[in-house]
């Protein structure tokens, strides 16, 4: 059973190289009597986060820069274990964060596919049998034998998405970077991601783009200064966050393309209704 449960989780970063601990300042501080604590300064990136995600959830993460979206994604991916509180992640996680990381620019796309797959818990054999499928999906063809440094950002995104979607992950975690792909590929990726989520898993996606959010998610979480401000249906939460209706900003053709989903979204409770429909209450 794929699930993520987070209870009262906080993530505090110690900042060891902050300059306020220099000898000069501590001497001056003592003279003035202002600086009292002798500890390492701490950045509270997440505070008291409670979350229950279940199979089939497609969650969009919205919030201002520095609101804690990426930190929350890394908490959900199991990269950061909470400083206080608990996080229990069940299922195979495949994160796509900064697209330059975990990819070696000097080696070929094929080898990067292999290494990424091994990192995500696959065996070499399993990855070799998937290479053709990934090559086809990413449409990179012969480029896969070229070193990664020759790739454009969009091509890297294709590669990263190709790998994570080919290995049947149960929990897919995407950061904003995937915005670099063109519309045609995005459509292809969207179908594949939706298919993946409906088959086996869940998707958590941080984005500033209304269009991407509508394409991929049905519920949303609004992060603000390290805390969950609101959680609920996508339209509601994003509308509250942006201060205007989410669907207003979409182009008519997007709405036409997603007509099925627009209809279901319209059936969602109007803004102001119960906001925590997806929150795991006992």
């Amino acid at each position: 059973m794929v699930s993520i449960d987070v209870r009262n989780a906080s993530v505090d970063f110690p900042i060891f190289d902050a300059k306020n601990r220099s000898l000069k300042k501590s001497v001056l501080g003592r003279a003035g009597g202002h600086i009292t604590d002798a500890k390492v300064p701490v950045v509270e990136a997440l505070r008291d986060v409670n979350l229950s995600l279940r199979q089939g959830d497609r969650i969009g993460l919205v919030g201002h820069n520095g609101a804690g979206k990426s930190t929350l994604l890394r908490l959900l991916a199991g990269i950061y274990e909470p400083t206080r509180g608990r996080a229990k992640i069940e299922g195979r996680v495949a994160p796509v964060f900064d697209l330059a990381v975990g990819m070696d620019p000097e080696i070929s796309g094929l080898e990067n596919i292999l290494i990424r797959g091994l990192f995500l818990g696959m065996t070499r054999k399993q990855m070799e049998s998937r290479v053709d499928e990934i090559a086809e999906f990413t449409e990179l063809g012969d480029y896969l034998t070229m070193p990664l440094r020759t790739y454009s950002t969009g091509m890297r995104v294709r590669l990263a998405l190709g790998v994570v979607t080919s290995i049947d992950p149960e929990i897919l975690i995407l950061d904003e970077g995937i915005g670099a792909v063109d519309a045609a590929f995005l459509e292809k990726a969207r179908d594949r991601l939706r298919d993946l989520v409906s088959r086996s898993g869940m998707l958590v996606f941080a984005s500033h783009s209304d269009e991407f959010l509508v394409e991929l998610c049905d519920t949303a979480i609004w992060m603000d200064t390290g805390e969950i401000r609101e959680q609920g249906s996508l339209r509601e939460v994003v509308s509250h966050y942006k201060g205007r209706d989410l669907f207003e900003s979409l182009s008519p053709e997007t709405i036409r393309r997603l007509d099925l989903r627009t209809d279901t979204a319209a059936d969602a409770p109007p803004p102001g209704g119960p906001a925590d429909e997806t929150v795991g209450s006992p």
């Binding site: 509180g85 608990r86 990381v101």
Partner: protein
Amino acid sequence: MAVPALARRGADDPSGPDDAAGAADLHTPSPRSWSRAFGDINQAIAQRELWGHLGWQDIKQRYRRSTIGPLWITISMAVTAAALGGLYSQLFGQPIGTFMPYVTVGFMIWYFISACVLEGTETFIANEGLIRFLPAPLMIYVFRTVWRQVLFFAHNLVVYVIVLAIFFPQLTRPYQMVHPNGVVHPGLSWSALLAIPAFLLIVINGLWVTLLFGIIATRFRDIPPVVSSFMQLFFTMTPIIWTTDLLRGGAPGSTKSLVEWLAKLNPFYHFIEIFRAPLVGQVQSWTHWAVCGVITVVGWTLALIALRNYRSRVAYWV
């Protein structure tokens, strides 16, 4: 948002007495637990294809676009051994036929040990990007670092084989490193096979060194330069280009006996000795093995405690 009352209790303080309640709720052990520490090791062993590949990649990377590639490792080792072996055998007036193999083997294993220590301190810092962006056991990076050194070592082993082929006649009969009153060494025999368990023991120690120093150096960034200057010191203090046979017969209180006493306090000496003595056919004291065994146990104990307590913190520190 409604949170079950059970979840609230005990979740506030993971190390407090309510720990059991919090854990029972989410069925997850505290980040600081032995099960998570050993789980990390087990998972990393299961993912050996990954670090095996990464270790190879590191070597290929270093010699990318070079025509003979990793063969340069072997060549540079051969040049070092020939130059130092040749020079010092003349300086110390020692027969080159036995001194050259001695220096070659000493250098080979010293390179391995010092690389484990030096690159061990950098192991998590160098993998910062991967640690912050991909969920993977920490031990992956430890295995990657040590495995890379094993591969370097394998390349250097070729030089030993060549040196052995050249000086085989001188090595296989009893010899003295220091004339006229040095220790008489029995010469090469089947006991050379003892070098295999010796190397395994050194690798096992390389793992705890990398793990422990890696964690400490990630938190305290002054450690890598401190360690590297100490390694310079240890290189001179360890009998690699000189031999302890030179120290025999010093009167108590003399410089000779002081240096001999210092050499015995030096942990690197014992590790080099268990590997080198069998490969160049020298007499070997079992005390070296005993000292290495004690260091292995103590070192792994410290490293496991560090892994248990700070495993989940490394991602925050890098």
